[in-house]
Symmetry: C2
Subunit: 136 residues, 2 copies
DNA sequence: ATTCAAATGAAACAATGTTGCAAAGATAAT
DNA sequence: ATTATCTTTGCAACATTGTTTCATTTGAAT
């Protein structure tokens, strides 16, 4: 799915900054931090615009934030929603050593039973430890 | 368990700031933000000291951070470790409406199977939605 | 009591996130 | 095409959150 198609599907206006943000996230293999995204966006990056588009795109469900240990927030496309029509999201792994974040596509997030009166919307699962590379 | 006992058990020096932090967290029913803790610590609160003790206490496993949506970090005692000798941690619930965080003691965090080479240390589960009060 | 490492608090800094507002760009109607 | 309207952008200024440095104080062990 192209960046343009994604925006159209969510009825969000196509702008250079948004197109670029989505394309950069598509090109990366891992959830990316603001700085990583910024580097790839070059002249299309402006801090305020970035934060505002994070808002817009994440409200639309196009991207989501992943906050591992604080304080590096990472952003990723909601690939699941696109691939298997938004049923199960997956868990993420945070390496305490190299601080990278990877998607654990195998680990799906179950449907939790909440106490009476609570309504489920979303769920984040961050598994922390040390990654393959760091354990060698 | 008293604050003093907790510190002794972890071989961490007793200081007024640490004692107060732990006592404040014990008195609250929910994971508390820095500002909530600050209010209850009164004159014992200093920002730098607070952040340093968050480091110390969380390295020791006495407290942990809970980051829901960013950017309000909350802190809670690792009650599980104390109550049922650190087997299963529990999930947390974040209300998108009132922004409160509550412990979901019923929902234990399972032992996830990680890919080869990865080592598990910790896991955060944040379930998001709307809470009892907000759904009325 | 003396000693020595660890903890504190103040100031300064750095990074992260937000708000207000004027200019630029897109949309729709005439 | 031209105007009117709404959204998005980019800048400046601000607010909040977290860190570093360093002199001073404190805790606890001898």
């Amino acid at each position: 799915m192209t960046a343009l198609e994604i925006l159209k599907q969510h009825e969000i206006k196509k702008t250079p900054a948004r197109m670029s943000m989505i394309q950069v996230l598509q090109s990366g293999q891992y959830p990316m931090s603001e700085n990583e995204i910024k580097e790839h966006m070059a002249n299309l990056y402006d801090r305020v615009t970035f934060y505002r588009n994070v808002q817009t795109l994440s409200n639309a469900g196009i991207i989501h934030k992943i906050v591992a240990d604080n304080t590096t927030v990472r952003y990723a496309l909601n690939c699941c929603e696109i691939e298997h029509n938004h049923t199960a999201e997956h868990a993420h792994f945070y390496c305490k050593n190299c601080h990278e974040v990877v998607c654990l596509n195998q680990i799906k997030i179950p449907a939790y039973d909440l106490p009476k009166g609570y309504k489920f919307v979303d769920c984040d699962v961050i598994i922390k430890g040390t990654c393959e590379k760091c354990n060698q």
